[in-house]
Symmetry: D2
Subunit: 178 residues, 4 copies
């Protein structure tokens, strides 16, 4: 099983990254730091005659990576009770590639299994729930299985090591992915 981890954080070595790395450790995997990639916001051309125009950024590379992996792991800190802006811009562009005849993007997505990691303060186990629901709607739309999610407690870098339940779950996912 090949795991593709999308990291949404805008800092390095944070808590969501820590969990993501525990999850993929020793597996066949690729890690993408979304904030290091050049990803343009969507320009919504769904209802224009000309349709979407090709965009000169790093996105097609990500589409190809998705095709090549079986599991998509989305790891984001809870920023203002949602996924990070860079991760949101990444998802918004799905709308473009679902319509791009060069890819079978929707069919490809439907074959993947999705896992979600959210980190935030101790209240994130409640305030992160709308984000879990949003992910559910996203995956449902493309018929992707939403296998499971972790909401971990960690704000300052490193705090996540105290959230035993989150670490246990990360470890159990890791075993499945090996």
């Amino acid at each position: 099983m090949k795991v593709l981890a999308f990291l949404g954080s805008t800092r390095k070595n944070g808590n969501s990254e820590y969990l993501a790395k525990k999850i993929v450790e020793g597996t066949d995997h690729t890690i993408v730091y979304l904030s290091d990639k050049h990803i343009q916001p969507i320009v919504d051309m769904r209802h224009t005659e000309e349709g979407f125009s090709p965009v000169n950024d790093d996105y097609e590379e990500l589409v190809k990576l998705m095709e090549e992996h079986d599991v998509l792991l989305f790891a984001t800190p809870l920023y203002w009770y949602g996924m990070s802006g860079p991760m949101k811009n990444y998802f918004d562009r799905w709308s473009q590639y679902l319509r791009d005849q060069r890819f079978n993007f929707k069919e490809e997505l439907a074959k993947k299994k999705a896992y979600v990691v959210i980190t935030g303060g101790s209240s994130a186990k409640i305030t992160g729930l709308p984000l879990v629901q949003q992910f559910q709607f996203i995956f449902e739309f493309v018929n992707m299985e939403f296998a499971d999610y972790i909401i971990g407690a960690g704000v300052k870098p490193g705090e996540i090591v105290n959230d035993k339940a989150a670490l246990d779950k990360a470890e159990s996912w890791n075993k499945q992915f090996r």
Copy 2:
């Protein structure tokens, strides 16, 4: 009452923009097209010694506009069951300005009243609810009153004119703002 409308859409003349314009018509207002502004994603420096660095983009202009208005109207199409990426990047940067000693950003935000417009397909009245809940958490965090929200039905440009309940509510907000 001065109304500041933040438009999250990445196309012009869409349904969320239509509602927003109905709402502010004839009032003392300013409209900001977020996708026309240069807004960098947050770089999370909350837990570093040096803290946040100044960013050379259009954001400070938006902070000043917020200070000068009484009502903040957030209008976004439902993109992947959330606010648009450009609007998310706008909110993420609040974290920086809450810590910027040059502004009393948190105190200023607590004086405002927030209104939200979301547009999407006919199912958005359900699938848009996690986004409403996210807005609620955002406004609660800064003690801003979440006055009301509209979830309007419109996907193709212009479709919103058939959603009488949304138009009625837009009109009633407009009367309050005049």
Copy 3:
């Protein structure tokens, strides 16, 4: 179109009842005050050999009423951020009748259109959202169309007359049902 209104309130002449009556006024309809009916809580026998036992209460009368109507209107005050206890006991018993060979209960439910009225304090437009989501899951389970919902503001009897948006929506449903 025949409308069956289930009222969940445990007081008479409250705000949810007021809205429900506006909605069905002049239509071919039946009103059921759930708290006046004798409805036993479910006894969960799904995984026993003997299965469910017949219950000697008013429930079968409600099953027959549902068969005879096209629209199901569920009107409940927000009690502790959920539907009222009597309405919950009503829904719990669906589990029994879905398995009762004498009725085609699931097929019947799939033909109906569901409308929901929730009333509560001014914050109910936010705190009532988990209940809207619960109704969505309920109706989805039985393939019933969830046509629309109203969250009205009214706590003391009569207060609802000040919620113009709720009254407008009630009136527009009424027109569809006539």
Copy 4:
């Protein structure tokens, strides 16, 4: 720490009961099977001159039990995406006792810590989220700390033993309560 476990299920030896018993094993605790208690639905008299009338059922016994314990554990199967009817009737009656001068019910509740166990099918980790949000609003209203929740996977009696994450969390709560 004295733990009071309210069981909402309407069958004996189900999955939510199993988890609840793991959680309280070896602690100073009391278990209440809500479906064995005689609990009348609330009769909403909040806005009448006479107010609430005394009800001749088992409820005052529960009020006294709550006063005597430090931790309240609410364990319910997910029935139609909510708590069970008997548990809902139990909560609805809080409205009466918050107004009963013989008790300091609200002050008492504010001293407790709340834990929630929900069991359902494998999708309950998503479809149970509105119920978690409802509990959050309930506890927030009475200033009770919502310490944590478990959403366990188990439909047929006994299935819960396969949900390792739920059992691990139950065990870790148990350690805190000993």
